[in-house]
Each structure stands twice: as structure tokens, then as C-alpha cells.
């Protein structure tokens, strides 16, 4: 039996296959019912020490759809942190104002520290280049919805696999479901050795390749990521790889594509995915973005014990 009441959502590594499946089932439930009073009288504190408008809006929407209220900030310059207050003190104070905390922070592991400090549940909404587990749950939810299941899929990860945390977490999660994985990136942006070792130890079948055309015919899912300029210390290195992958309708027409390929992207996109793709059956990335709300509703309600 899966119990989520009072749990924290910090890292996808904390969740078993059974728990992941259970969360996706709850998300489906929330998708079907809108505007409930499940969390009436409860308060969510959105602590965004690093701005991320979409993630913040998505949590706000989820909480409001369940009848709850939201407090918080998204301008770290104006918080006590800017005056040198410790993270522990900040969250201890906020703990007294709310029933659940969502935290986004520029330091890696900040949400783990927050969760260890307070007694209310804590949800990690992204810390540094580290984890963003609710993104992974919504990615899985989208894949499950479009494919009818998660077991045994062939999944390609395309783009910046060195710094792309969403791809890392999704690969970890899919390792539970016997996925065959293709990591498609330029050699300079390969997935880090640590992750490969972890996947190996879990018996994942994986391949590292340079170009999409080598593997496109085999894929059920193509998970694209943006090459993030801000992650490069050296702008010359960024220029070498920017725009190396440009997906468009024409590009896909010229590739051998598996039956019913679906393309996901955590968004925002820059130049790696052309708008000509949006109207094709491949594109599920807007649906994916919208999935964030029912998935977060499910998590908020489950952690607060209103849904089991």
C-alpha cells in the first residue's frame, strides 16, 4: 500500500515503481474532476528563491482548483535571504504560516535541507541543476496518456544531455519500466558518466549516438531538451553546439519515423523545435505542459492527506 500523507517530494530517486504508478493514477483522477473543495482552508507557501513563472503558476493553479490558498514570493532580492538569513530559518518561519511548502532554489539540495528542517510536507520545484521531480511526474503522465502505458517503451533523449536535468530524472524513472534508451547528443553534451553507471546498475539497455537519423525509426518517444546557454562557462563552446538539432516538419518528413512517435519537450523551446511541428500528431508538448496542473493537484492533495 502506498502512503503519501506527509511525505516530501524531493528527488525522483526517493520513489519506487509502485509509488510512481500510484501518483500517476491519482493524477488521472484529478484530471477528470475540476474545482473541488479537497483542500479548502489549506495554505500553500510558494518559496521561489529563483524565479520560475510557469512552475509557480502551475502550483498556484493546482492549489486554487482544490479550493486552497497560496502565499509566497518569487523575488529573492526582496526576501530575508538577501539580508543573509539562513535557509533553515526562512523555512522554519514560513512553516508556521502554511500547510505545505513548495520551494525552488538556486542551490542544489536546498529542498532536501528544507524538508529536513520543517514538519510540513515540502515539494521541490527545482534546485540548481539537480532535481525537479514534479516535472518528471508530469512527463511520465504525458507519456502514459499518449502511449497507453509506460512498460517497455523505446525512448530517445535529444539535445543537452550533460546539463539537462529533466532528461536525467526521466531516464531514472523510466528505468523502472524496462525502457530502451537512446541518448542523442553531440559528444560534448553527452549524459554524465554517473547517470550511465546508475542506469547500467539497473540493467537498462541504452545507446549513445550523435544523430537522430541513426535511431529515429525505433522510437516511441522523443524527449527533446533545450541547449541552455546559461549552463556554458565558455560562449565559444555554446556557439559550437547551438542549433545543432533543429526539428521541423521537413526534418521529420525526411527521417524514418516509428509508428506513432510522440515528441515531448519540457519547454521553453528556443531554436531546437520549429513551430511547423506544433500542428502534427507528433507534438504533445503543450499537452505535457498542461499536465502539470492535475499532477500537482494529485501531489498536493495526497501529501495533505485529502486523497488516498
Amino acid at each position: 500500500m502506498v502512503l503519501l500523507k506527509n511525505r516530501d517530494i524531493i528527488s525522483i530517486l526517493d520513489f519506487t515503481k509502485e509509488e510512481i504508478s500510484y501518483i500517476l493514477d491519482l493524477s488521472k483522477k484529478m484530471d477528470k474532476q475540476r474545482h473541488t473543495d479537497l483542500l479548502k482552508g489549506k495554505i500553500l507557501a510558494n518559496l521561489f528563491f529563483e524565479p520560475s513563472t510557469r512552475t509557480k503558476l502551475s502550483f498556484e493553479t493546482a492549489m486554487k482548483r482544490l479550493g486552497g490558498d497560496v502565499i509566497g514570493f518569487d523575488d529573492p532580492d526582496k526576501t530575508s535571504t538577501a539580508k543573509g538569513e539562513s535557509l533553515k530559518d526562512s523555512v522554519k518561519i514560513v512553516e508556521g504560516y502554511c500547510d505545505i511548502i513548495v520551494i525552488r532554489h538556486f542551490l542544489e539540495g536546498a529542498s532536501r535541507l528544507a524538508a529536513d528542517t520543517v514538519n510540513v510536507p515540502v515539494i521541490n520545484a527545482g534546485d540548481g541543476a539537480c532535481q525537479h521531480p514534479t516535472q518528471t511526474f508530469l512527463d511520465l503522465y504525458t507519456i502514459k496518456n499518449t502511449k497507453g502505458g509506460l512498460e517497455g517503451l523505446t525512448v530517445g533523449f535529444l539535445g543537452d544531455l550533460k546539463y539537462g536535468r529533466t532528461a536525467h530524472s526521466l531516464a531514472y524513472a523510466l528505468a523502472h519500466f524496462n525502457a530502451e534508451m537512446f541518448f542523442i547528443s553531440p559528444p560534448s553534451l553527452r549524459i554524465p558518466k554517473d547517470y550511465i553507471e546508475q542506469l547500467q546498475s539497473r540493467g537498462v539497455s541504452y545507446h549513445e549516438v550523435d544523430s537522430l537519423s541513426e535511431v529515429s525509426s525505433k522510437l516511441d518517444i522523443l524527449y527533446c531538451t533545450r541547449i541552455q546557454k546559461e549552463r556554458f562557462a565558455d560562449p565559444v563552446e555554446y556557439e559550437k553546439v547551438r542549433g545543432i538539432y533543429k526539428l521541423s516538419r521537413t526534418v521529420l518528413d525526411n527521417l524514418k519515423i516509428g509508428n506513432d512517435l510522440k515528441i515531448l519537450h519540457p519547454l521553453p523551446r528556443v531554436e531546437e523545435m520549429d513551430e511547423s511541428l506544433d500542428s502534427t500528431d507528433y507534438a504533445v508538448y503543450f499537452q505535457q505542459a498542461h499536465s502539470g496542473v492535475p499532477v500537482r493537484e494529485a501531489l498536493l492533495a495526497a501529501l495533505l492527506g485529502a486523497l488516498q
Binding site: 538556486f106 542544489e108 536546498a110 532536501r112
Partner: protein
């Protein structure tokens, strides 16, 4: 008669079977320059197990658990001999615990443990060769990455 390469001590601790190149790192852990009793350090001594080994003998000193944990990280083959009245009263091999708290620094400059007043914490994934995972940022560290706090 057996030739003694490093002379014996009457009371204290002998750390034996240190990989030769790690001997001075172990000496640093024990802060030997600030010990006022006899300290003997030998390196490149012959050893069946390690080919060449280091040995440190410290008069009058009992190691703390923290010191033992640190030595285990730097010299996983080391053995400790507790000496009383010139006799070995206890002999055991150092062991790496399953979690390391406050003794290793996370090598990730963006890790919360390097910015807030908290102890670092690591989960030991593999003991030999050593592989650890930061409890906070989940980065993996091994061999040369490991820097004592």
C-alpha cells in the same frame, strides 16, 4: 631475529598497512605535528599485501571514531593495533561506515552543504573502490574527488 624497521612503542596506537603514498595524508588527519608524545612514521616498508606500505606509531593516543572513519576513506586497507605494555591488545581493520557525516566536503560548488551552516552528509554506495553520493545534491564522488572537511 626479525629486523624491526620502525621501533616499537609501549603504549598507544599503530596504524599499519597504509598504502605508502597515503601515509602523509593519514598523518595529516591525525595532526601529528601537534602531538607531544612519540610519533614514528615509516614509508616504503616492504609488505606482502600492499607491496610497499606506510606505518604510523603514536605513543599514548587512542583514535576517535571520526579519525578512524577518515583514515578508512584515505587508506581502506589500514589496520589499527592498540598497544598496552608493549603488547598488541586489540587489532582490527578500519571500515568505512554506510553514511559519512561532516567528514567529507562535497565537491559541487553549488551544493547547499557548501553554503549553509550544515554538516555534509554522504551515502556510501561502494566501499572499495570508494564511491559516495551527496545526500543533498546527489552528486557522486569517488577516489580523487574526495576531500576531507
Amino acid at each position: 631475529m626479525k629486523k624491526l624497521e620502525v621501533s616499537a612503542i609501549e603504549e598507544g596506537t599503530v596504524i599499519d598497512q597504509i598504502a605508502s603514498k597515503s601515509t602523509f595524508k593519514v598523518a595529516n588527519i591525525l595532526d601529528i605535528q601537534n602531538i607531544d608524545q612519540v610519533v614514528l612514521v615509516g614509508v616504503n616498508l616492504s609488505s606482502k599485501k600492499l607491496n610497499k606500505k606506510g606505518i604510523i606509531k603514536i605513543g599514548g593516543k587512542q583514535l576517535t571514531q571520526e579519525e578512524v572513519n577518515k583514515i578508512a576513506l584515505i587508506a581502506p586497507d589500514a589496520t589499527l593495533n592498540i598497544i598496552k605494555n608493549s603488547e598488541v591488545v586489540r587489532k582490527f581493520q578500519v571500515a568505512i561506515p554506510d553514511t559519512l557525516e561532516g567528514i567529507v566536503r562535497c565537491f559541487n560548488p553549488n551544493c547547499v552543504s557548501n553554503h549553509q551552516m550544515i554538516q555534509s552528509k554522504f551515502h556510501v554506495m561502494n566501499k572499495n573502490p570508494i564511491k559516495i553520493r551527496c545526500y543533498y545534491c546527489e552528486r557522486h564522488m569517488g577516489g580523487d574527488d574526495i576531500e576531507l572537511a
